[in-house]
């Protein structure tokens, strides 16, 4: 299963390569929490919301192949 992970804004800095996005080939069952904490060792407290294909998803969401997962920091906007 191929998924894309996109940390938004300064969340990028928490991921090892400071990249715009990460394409991951995963096998078996994964939740977003597992991907973030186990694959990247990122503290989930930093993440305010998760959006997959325009919909809010929770930490235990199991992504499908082709999903683009956006990880969002708190963004109030002035």
């Amino acid at each position: 299963m191929l998924i894309t992970l996109r940390p938004i804004g300064h969340l990028k800095e928490l991921f090892p390569a400071n990249q715009e996005k990460y394409e991951l080939e995963l096998s078996g069952t994964w939740t977003i929490r597992n991907i973030v904490t186990k694959s990247f060792d990122v503290d989930p407290d930093s993440i305010s919301g998760i959006v997959v294909e325009g919909k809010h998803r929770k930490w235990d969401y199991e992504p499908k192949s082709g999903d683009e997962i956006l990880l969002i920091p708190p963004l109030g906007g002035g």
Binding site: H10, D45, S48, I50, G54, H56, W59, P74, G77
Partner: protein
């Protein structure tokens, strides 16, 4: 002669300092500077019930004071400061905001601007839910409220330099008895820029005990400072000692304390992992805006720039030794400060000064939007705007407009008095600012704001009016704040439909719309354009800062059903509101309260001649690419949209032809969204609240209904 001998008290009004009950004193301090009347007015239960406080009270009193033909500089116009029932509690972050309301010199209608600093909460603790100032003084006066003694005076005091960094410090010294007493003083002041332009703002001070310095926050938008100086007000000063968290006499102290303790723990543990506002302030938005094509560059032509990395990081400039809350108890503390900044230009050249800021908006306005990517320039401009009393947003957006006109040959050195106003010329930007503040040279025109400049450039310099309408970034006469809205239809409407003009504080939907793609349909966008403006309005009714709502969130926020609304914080706010007032309001109740005030403000716009659909129009620059250069900078994106969204094959078409097709499509989309939002809000297709809507919201007062009926 000593300063005390030179002090001339024109009027003295003594009153019984009143204990607040459940967040209210239920009275207003009315001052008329034409005849020196000072009196207390009682606020009725009915008024309180509908208008709540803060912006609501400002609108209510201004409505009584002005007619549909009153101008900003008529003596009848008022400046009203009010903060609302929650303001002043110290147990929760962000609880000291005041809202200032007046008729704006650039929009001709109501402007409301929120601001931190100590003045508003001190005013409440001194026994006043609002300060209402009407009339014009003959000479510069200070209105001084001694909340400890229960005395209000109108006085002439030796003033000297009126620019805030001098005056606020001087008046803080003058009215305090010792260093320790300075924390009990707050000054509202502006500067020479407010005398000489229409973009004057107000600085509200708070004394930073740790750093022994007068700090300021700004009520920036819409020229409130210009009204202040037109009334010959040099300053409002207030003194109140013995602040403590319980002065509101809340209905349920424990509920407030428990909510506050929980939130402070959350801020302490989450903010460093999240936005780190305590270290970065709102500057943390700059890289996000640049990365996502939202940072205004060169008069909103572009949304990103390779040099923007030079202005995204500020932590090393800020002083981190104290706490930067603009009211007691604000652990978010985003009001960052730079010490010992040496000025390179202007009347204070060579002096080392304190700069309050910069905030994101200032970085965008006086940095990227004028094509200057230099932190020291931004600090210099930030300092001078503040001390001159000039709104950084209106100045920066206005300067960017001038620069584009200059680069297009509409203006030249003969017109600008030698200023070479090309994008990126920081010396010219600073000189323009000094000229505006001094009322000199081309600054006299630039200080009028974009709407008036457009008229002047067409009438006197033969500019093409359509081009200026397209690139002049103002709506309802208010200059745009600093976000590129081209790819966010919802944000375009957020700017265009905002009651006060093009400010993002009603609705900031860019991210939800463009990056997260959460509101794809017109109905989704209209719903967001209902909820967010109404909820954000509520902050201004009760005296809260919006930042602690959604710029720091609880650990489990992503696991809630609506993370964008931060449900736990909404619950906190209900606890604070109900804990102070003794109400048992639900989220629906507070949205209803806001909706009532919001609709009243819409009718107020109608009263002042700007409350219809035609007034919700926006410059095309905020909707799509105006010029070939702009289109071609994002050619791939626009060509794809032509194919995928519009169904037109771009191949073989000139850029001009493609711009035309994109424009027709985007303008139509905007109109469809406006229709959808009007419907959602219960307004006619001309954007007027229906009589049913006014009745449902309990703002169907006879004069409101009479006015609306004339337009239906």
């Amino acid at each position: 002669m000593s300063e005390d001998q030179a002090r001339k008290v024109i009027q003295t009004f003594k009153y019984e300092p009143k204990r607040l009950e459940r967040g209210y004193s239920d009275r207003t301090l009315y001052v008329n500077l034409s005849d020196n009347t000072v009196k207390a007015k009682t606020i009725s239960e009915e008024t309180k019930d509908v208008f709540i406080g803060g912006r609501g009270y400002g609108l209510y009193y201004l409505w009584q004071a002005v007619t549909g033909v009153t101008k900003w500089n008529d003596p009848e116009n008022e400046i009203i400061i009010s903060c609302g029932p929650i303001a002043g509690i110290t147990q929760y972050p962000g609880t000291g905001k005041s809202i200032v309301v007046t008729l704006s010199p650039t929009t001709g209608t109501v402007i409301d601007s929120n601001v931190g600093g100590y003045f508003g909460p001190f005013m409440k603790f001194s026994g006043w839910d609002a300060l209402e100032v009407q009339g014009k003084a003959e000479r510069d006066v200070v209105v001084y409220i001694d909340g400890d003694k229960g005395v209000v005076t109108i006085e002439e005091v030796p003033l000297g330099d009126l620019n805030t960094h001098v005056l606020a410090e001087r008046l803080t010294d003058y009215y305090s008895e010792s260093e320790n007493d300075k924390k009990n003083i707050s000054v509202v002041s502006t500067g020479t820029g407010a005398d000489n332009s229409l973009m004057g703002m107000l600085n509200f001070s708070f004394y930073d005990r740790k750093r022994k310095a007068v700090r300021i926050k700004q009520a920036g938008r819409g020229g409130i400072g210009s009204v202040f100086r037109d009334k010959n007000i040099a300053a409002f000063v207030i003194k109140f000692s013995n602040v403590n968290g319980d002065l509101n006499n809340p209905a349920d102290k424990k509920r407030i304390n428990d909510t506050g303790i929980k939130m402070h723990k959350e801020v302490a543990s989450m903010d460093p992992k999240q936005n780190n506002m305590r270290k970065r302030g709102t500057t943390m938005l700059t890289p996000i805006a640049n990365d996502n094509d939202l940072l205004p560059v060169c008069n909103f032509k572009f949304g990103t720039h390779p040099d923007a990395v030079k202005i995204t990081k500020w932590e090393d400039k800020f002083c981190h030794t104290g706490s930067d809350g603009c009211w007691y108890g604000c652990t978010v503390g985003c009001a960052k400060v730079v010490f010992g900044f040496e000025l390179r230009t202007g009347p204070y050249k060579g002096q080392k000064v304190l700069v309050d800021g910069p905030e994101y908006e200032t970085i965008g306005a006086v940095g990227s939007n004028v094509g200057v990517f230099d932190r020291d320039h931004i600090l210099e401009c930030n300092f001078y705007c503040d001390t001159y009393g000039i709104d950084t947003i209106s100045f920066g957006t206005g300067a960017a407009f001038i620069m584009e006109c200059y680069e297009n040959g509409i203006l030249n050195k003969d017109i600008t008095g030698g200023l070479e106003l090309n994008f990126g010329n920081r010396e010219a930007v600073m000189e323009l600012l000094h000229q505006i503040a001094g009322g000199e040279g081309f600054g006299k025109i630039a200080g009028q704001g974009i709407r008036k400049m457009k008229k002047i450039f067409v009438e006197q310099y033969g500019a093409n009016s359509r081009f200026l309408e397209d690139i002049g970034m103002e709506a309802k006469g208010l200059e745009y704040s600093e976000y590129i809205s081209k790819e966010s239809l919802a944000q375009q409407a957020g700017y265009g439909m905002a009651n006060k003009g093009a400010q993002h504080d009603e609705a900031w939907l860019i991210f939800m719309d463009t990056v997260l793609k959460q509101i794809p349909t017109f109905e989704d966008k209209a719903e967001a354009l209902h909820f967010f403006p109404m909820f954000r309005t509520w902050f201004g009714l009760v005296g809260l800062c919006k930042l602690p709502w959604n710029d720091v969130v609880p650990a489990n926020n992503a696991d809630t059903d609506e993370p964008q609304k931060v449900p736990e914080h909404v619950e906190n706010y209900l606890n604070l509101y109900n804990g102070v007032t003794g109400k048992e309001a639900t989220i629906d109740d507070i949205l209803f309260e806001s909706e009532a005030v919001y609709n009243f403000q819409r009718v107020f716009n109608l009263k002042m001649g700007v409350g219809k659909r035609e007034h919700d129009s926006i410059p095309y620059r905020s909707v799509g690419p105006v010029t070939v250069e702009e289109y071609e900078s994002r050619q791939e994106r626009y060509d794809d949209q032509l194919k995928d969204l519009i169904g037109v094959d771009p191949s073989g078409k000139s850029t001009e032809e493609k711009i035309k097709v994109v424009r027709e499509y985007r303008e139509k989309q905007y109109e469809i969204l406006v229709d959808t939002v009007y419907k959602r809000r219960g307004w006619t297709d001309q954007g007027i609240p229906t009589l049913d809507t006014l009745k449902r919201l309990r703002v169907d007062f006879p004069d409101v209904v009479g006015l609306v009926k004339k337009h239906l």
